[in-house]
């Protein structure tokens, strides 16, 4: 099966019903996408499939082939000189010092990035509705909300606010 992940093509020989999560992590070494519950509740495994946020633990390989898969490892942009430009969501999460343990944050940031692509200027309520699908046991929720709002500003070119 052919997979397109973060702009690179991979050929994997695997069973079509295997969840994409384990192929990413165990077969391809893309461990930025996390396992938390395996039943689509916690959101730690959130990735983008053709730009939409989905749960990798519930996405079978067969549903991933032929689509553009983006994981946390592909959120930043690599420049021609090899340096990285962080995505506005990554910049905002650092600026607000959101992470504690950081394990759920892969999914939080991917959910946030998908939200901002669909809705570049979300209201406070829209941010909560979108981010409520991702659990954080360290309780960083207030900073997550602030950081998503800040990421929208950064993407819109607003400097240090």
């Amino acid at each position: 099966m052919e997979l397109s992940i973060n702009g690179k093509n991979y050929t994997v020989d695997d069973t079509p019903d295997r969840p994409l999560l384990w192929v990413l992590r165990d077969e391809l070494g893309l461990t930025g996408t996390k396992f938390g519950c395996g039943v689509g509740i916690c959101g730690s495994c959130t990735i983008h499939l053709d730009g939409a946020a989905v749960r990798a633990c519930l996405t079978p390989l067969s549903a991933s082939a032929g689509k553009k898969i983006r994981t946390l490892e592909g959120l930043a942009t690599e420049n021609p000189d090899g340096s990285l430009s962080l995505h506005p969501v990554q910049q905002a999460f650092i600026e607000l010092q959101v992470h504690q343990c950081g394990y759920c944050m892969s999914g939080q940031m991917m959910t946030a990035a998908a939200l901002l692509e669909q809705n570049p200027k979300p209201t406070a309520e829209e941010i909560i509705t979108a981010m409520d699908k991702n659990l954080c046991r360290c309780g960083s929720y207030p900073r997550i909300r602030q950081a998503v709002a800040r990421a929208a500003e950064i993407a819109a070119g607003v400097q240090n606010g």
Partner: protein, 721 residues
Amino acid sequence: MAETPKEKRKLTRRDFLVLTGAAGGLYLGVTLGVLPFAQLKLAEFLDSAGGPPSNIEAVPLAWFEIGADGPVNIYIPKVEMGQGIHTTLAQAAADELDLPWESIRVLNVGTGKGLDDPVGTSASNSTSSLFPILRQAGATLREMLRLEGAKLLGAAAETVRAEYGFVFSNQDSARKISYGEIVRAVKTWVVPDPLPALKKASEFRYIGQPMPRVDLLDKVLGKTQYGFDLRLENMAYGAVAMPTKIGATLKSAAAGEAASLPGVIKIVIEDDFVGVVAERRDQAWRALEAVQIEWNETHAWEQAEIEALVQIGSGRGVTVQQQGDVDGRLDADALEAEYFTPMVFHAHMEPQTAAADVRADGATIWASTQTAVGVRRAVAKATGLKEESVIAIPTFLGGGFGQKVNSFPAVQAARLSQAAGRPVHLGYRRAEDFQNGFIRPPSRSQLRAVVNPNGLIEAMEHKQASGQVAFPFLPVFVSRVMGADFGAYRGAQIRYGIPHKRVQAWLADLPFKTGWWRGLGLLPNLFAIESFMDELAVSIGMDPILFRMANLPLDESGARMKKVLETVREKAGWGLPAPQGRARGVALALDVNTIVACVAEVSVSGREIRVHKLTGVADAGFFVNPNGAAAQMEGGMNMALSSALFEETLVKNGELTPTNFGAYKFLNNAASPQIVVELISSGDEPFGLGEPPLGPVAPAIANAVFALTGQRLRRLPLKLA
């Protein structure tokens, strides 16, 4: 009752171990010097109880590595699980060593590096125990570099200064030599005696500043390696059979068809242990399902039976605080109330996990653990290897909250690796994680008190019963001598200035494992005491903040508590009416010498309790990183709110339930309130802040619910009638 900190032992020249590297480089280890406080406490206890002497072996607590080039590395045995301690400790060392912020790195180290930490990363003590040590070590290294730098510059020692990674001549700033160059040139180092003075607060560049977390860039890029992310050469995947029924033991197992399933490398069946090693994780899970396993099941426990085991006044009861004549003062008119808190899961996002590479001559274990030393000991015992040939390396943790003090997955991964002759990764699925760990025990508290009309509490009694917290992790003789489990009665002592008071603790033997959970007994006990304080205030019609102020102890801790209460009153707008349909409640906690007060603002809709705002004020002595401290407050208060409103592990038909997120509800983003944090510095020594914020939140919410509805809810999670 104030906890007076013992006078700290000062480091001396002999506490440092200095080595030079073959290729240049200077290494400085801080040896025994200061015992981690929990170990010290235990040692003192054993001495006073006539037990074995406290001749605890000298081990380094931290290791500084100044290379001939590049960054300064500081190796510490404390893990980063979200507390930000690698950042606070980098601040301490970078300031005293006088380094640019970018050139310092704090690294976790496994047991192979000679750094043994018998306490583990727990009890909110990482910053408080290592901060003074790293400062003194950094200052000592700086002085050593300065003295040798002076010689190399051909200048008198008093005419040079160490600054920003260089030693400069005071006369001519162009004359300078970098730390790296000094380290390359010097072969013999002398530790100054006496040790140099620490910097003054006015000289700090980093300490006390909101420095950015050193681990965040890797975390936003997905590069951080957690235990579940371990990938080793030739690694296979494991799965282990674990009973779902409480108390079940293995009766029989047969590989059957499992051995011939795709990818299976080995079916391991040894006395009490059944596991599978396979090329892929899903193959291991599938094969484990195919293994024919029978369990010896005991009684099918139900929740009511468990709660009935948690009884005050039966079995072992120990007085843990006693003052005055409580029995003489508590008469029939005393107010009394009983409170109950349930079992809860840790629910860290990263399930318990470890990877093991066991060879004939030794083993290396990578584990998402709060105690590498505990893992080493347990793996050595399980594999028959000598402890010194087992290296246990802690990874970053996707949350721990006390659970990851255990060594279960590390031991299981090691057994699988030993049997299969391959490195093995073992990661629990969520149900396995929930049903095979230590959970927070249930607790029951009975309080009685007499208050005079002026609002002074004349006498108060707290009787508390709980499942075990600390004892499962201690040698049996310690628990026999101590009687009461200090983990279970953490937070049970009455901190108010009451002339007659007594606290007694009972221990319940439960059929499942209970143990460390963030703050230990703090949340359960404070829920009881601080709810009861509200009931007392209401009984005489007094404002609950003024009532607490009237009953503070007349010592330094009382003065600090007063300031924290005054601050929370102001920041929460306590004197102003609450917004329409809402009410406020307050509570106060003192833990590990840190004081936290909380005001909760709640509303009620039908039977649903909604917390809109939490105002938290903390005096943790000194804040090395105010932004990190605020994050600990926000996260800790949210976790306590989650316990207050949502969380409950229930025993049903012999099983701990529920078995996954969702059914096990905890705080989500939409239910997370506005949080206002205010930090008060009262000195220059940091106390802990990882756990104290969990103390006052649940009672503050319960007290607000009473103010709003008149319903006094004495059981967590809070449920309206």
